[in-house]
Symmetry: C2
Subunit: 489 residues, 2 copies
């Protein structure tokens, strides 16, 4: 009942109050065009006012063309919702700037073929949640709560939760990184860490040098800030040194962005000697390195290799970005930036300007989880699990995929370059119809894209699906090759 | 013992391994210049190798000038840490861009006088953590865990946790906001929400129109993106309409940024009629409004007023930013952007490029907390508590502070303009010596700063400290006025 929100007051004529109430109802959308009003009798009874007042109001509105009475049927609103007085519309698409448009254009969740239920998906490189040691985490969450309580709910510090910062310092030390004149800033995962570094230290047009191929999220972020990206080819040991030196000589890059521990998408682990040579070249040209410690914990096929940050001693040439959450709990969104103390001090202000601070509840729970030793137990467990998956994937790939090369020796994915010049997007279209998806390789290249490449993430794929899925990919490669050969005949 | 990390292998001459180990130690900083090496005898015993091998290694290093043996004293490293081969230093201060420098320059945590233990602080506008209903929150946290478990730890969705999004939709509806063609994006609090909107929809040089004074974090973010800020004077009903119309006519602002529900710092609540007039002026000029719903839940001195977003019907002219966490749990960092569906779709991609998504653990716990009714109970409780604090503050201010005006009628702070032209920073310097701090008003002005203003936040100040602290402020005002008058004599 439209009149249930009307409280008649004694200061104004009743008919005016009724009239105003109806107009308000039209304005705020409660009374749409053609909606029926209660009869004057009903209103008078409901509001406990004289029927004449209601009739006066209705007559006035009718004379203004706002309502219409159809004899024997009732009284109706006769105008379009008067919201037009209030509504206005902005064409935001014309306002959206280049930054946002770039992030939209390269938002693979929107641009890539979507996973549908029942599909076999090699698209994701997320860890398998069934392996999460949930009881351990719940205990850590309760520990965090017990020790911190309301501290977790009031404002925290932009730099992060101190015990976790201290933990990450120890973590860096264990990797033989010199922590003198270094500091740590906790972020919402790698993405925010990289966004903070890039948005603070670059200007549009700056050149960033990175591996070819490289992490698509990093590419996306760099592009959104208008940076020029130059990719340097890799072999199985890491970046090609001759090409790297050429590029360093020719252009003056602002930064190098490297994923030596486990390149995404190729899974190539840059070898110790190569790390040194790469590092020395950057040093020679005084170009700082942003080192992405991606998945270094998941290396299961060789012994751990110290990060490039360990080579810089008390120097500040390397900014290291860490993120345990990628192998552990990606949903927790916890990462960190390790680097020059004065630099971190400024990045702390940037962090405060972007998100104030990361969740202290999450940071504290994560800290108690790490401290309890649960992370080490978890790693031991999953390394074996993923290693077996990896071996199975390689078996199947060797059996069904005619590749030029396959890379990846740890972690949760491999990268394949096909022998034939098959566009992996065409291959994906076919596989999609058979319920199989993977990540086409082109998104990892800035230009000069290697179109016959793709990434196979296997962390969350069941063994039988690995067998089935890779066979389907292989079958479709055969199909494309044959139809291609036929056309040549 | 430097040799404890050396594992002798059988493939290389032992003396070479020892030599290399010492050089490595120098390179990685373990062996600094003048540090003493163990004697050849000790090394031979420790490594279980022939003493001759050790002597050979030491002799070779000595011939190269790397170590030196001082007879009867021992053997020492004789060169500067060879890290110079490895170290390099970047002068990041020369690389930091304008964006980061601005965020640093306006980072009040670094620029304002710091709180020291034992002080009476009117600086913060945070809620009192003693009022948090911690048991309710713990229950919600456990509920979230029980219902979601590993879902909370694997990747979530950039848009947010769906039940929480749905909850916020209902919340908007209750405020009579039309949700047709609208969508919601969950963010890490107001700060990220505002950063997402501003970084996506503006370009350097764009004009933003806002209240005078206004939220310093918003000012900081707008400045960091190179925006031009025009502030419009307020009276106790809200923005001045004549000045607003003038500015709208003269410049073409890209956006208006308004805090109608409870302006920070003044605490002015824009009245219903004024909201309409302001809204209509923006509408007339087709300028979209960013509405900051700051602390609208804490209004305790008048009945709730619908947000400006409720005036726009199915139109998309208003982008509303909400953040319950400001009155509740600031540490949780949960806010939301409500606006045009297509716009939110793009902002979702921007969110993904900045922080992927907000913590699902926090979102889910917060959802169960809201759903349980605990928030409503909490509000009822704190409204009364803060109202009493507010009345006490006003009593004291009336007694001790010679003001031109005081504003604020709800929430956790008031704003004072002094009668005399006393610079509140000088006042703060004096008060600081007496152990009292507050927030000088200048940080809330872009230019034409009102220097004799300051903000008094009282949410976390004990009653006796309110009495003591405001008296101290009053005493110091008297002191300044007297010394000023003396100089005039």
């Amino acid at each position: 009942m439209i009149f249930s929100t009307l409280n008649i007051n004694k200061d104004e004529p009743i008919y005016m109050q009724i009239e105003k109430h109806i107009i308000d109802g039209i304005k705020n959308g409660e009374l749409k065009k053609d909606s029926k009003l209660p009869s004057t009798r009903e209103v008078s009874k409901f509001l406990n006012v004289s029927r004449n007042s209601v009739i006066s109001a209705y007559e006035k509105l009718e004379s203004e063309g706002i309502i219409i009475t159809k004899k024997g049927i009732g009284t109706f609103i006769s105008i379009e919702c008067k919201n037009e007085f209030y509504e206005y519309n902005i064409d935001y698409s014309s306002i959206i700037n280049t930054y946002a448009n770039t992030l939209r254009d390269f938002d693979i969740i929107k641009t890539e073929l979507p996973y549908k239920k029942g599909m076999i998906s090699f698209k994701s490189i997320s860890p398998e949640s069934d392996l999460f040691n949930l009881d351990d985490f719940k205990r850590s969450l309760l520990d965090a709560w017990t020790y911190e309580e309301s501290n977790l709910l009031n404002y925290g510090y932009a730099k992060g939760y101190q015990p976790l910062i201290d933990y990450f310092f120890e973590y860096m030390k264990e990797k033989r990184v010199n922590v003198i004149n270094k500091d740590i800033l906790i972020t919402n995962g790698f993405t925010e860490a990289f966004d903070i570094v890039i948005s603070s230290l670059t200007n549009p047009g700056d050149i960033i040098l990175c591996e070819k191929p490289t992490h698509n999220t990093a590419l996306k972020i760099m592009k959104s800030y208008g940076l020029k990206i130059i990719q340097v080819e890799m072999d199985k040991e890491g970046m090609d040194l001759t090409e790297l030196e050429n590029v360093l000589n020719k252009c003056s890059p602002k930064f190098g962005y490297l994923i030596p521990s486990y390149n995404n998408p190729t899974g190539i682990v840059t070898k110790t000697e190569r790390r040194k040579e790469i590092y020395k070249l950057f040093r020679k040209h005084s170009v700082p390195i942003i080192e992405d410690g991606f998945n270094e914990e998941l290396l299961y096929s060789s012994s751990p290799i110290d990060p490039i940050a360990s080579l810089t001693g008390e120097g500040n040439g390397v900014i290291y970005i860490g993120s345990l959450s990628k192998v552990l709990f990606p949903g927790l969104r916890i990462g960190w930036i390790f680097g020059d103390t004065k630099l971190i001090d400024i990045l702390e202000s940037v962090k405060r300007g972007k998100t104030i601070h990361s969740s202290f509840l999450d940071q504290s729970a994560f800290y108690y989880y790490l401290k309890s030793g649960a992370f080490t137990r978890y790693l031991k467990n999953v390394r074996k699990y993923y290693r077996n998956k990896y071996l199975l994937v390689m078996d199947m790939v060797n059996k069904y995929i005619p590749y030029e090369y396959v890379t990846g020796e740890g972690g949760l994915h491999i990268f394949i370059k096909l022998k034939d010049t098959i566009n992996s997007r065409n291959l994906l279209d076919l596989c999609y119809k058979n319920g199989v998806i993977f990540m086409p390789g082109d998104i990892f290249y800035e230009d000069d894209k290697c179109l016959n490449t793709f990434r196979i993430g296997f962390g969350r794929v069941k063994d039988e699906d690995i067998k089935k899925g890779i066979k389907i990919i292989g079958d479709n490669i055969k199909l494309i090759s044959e139809s291609f050969n036929k056309r040549l005949e």
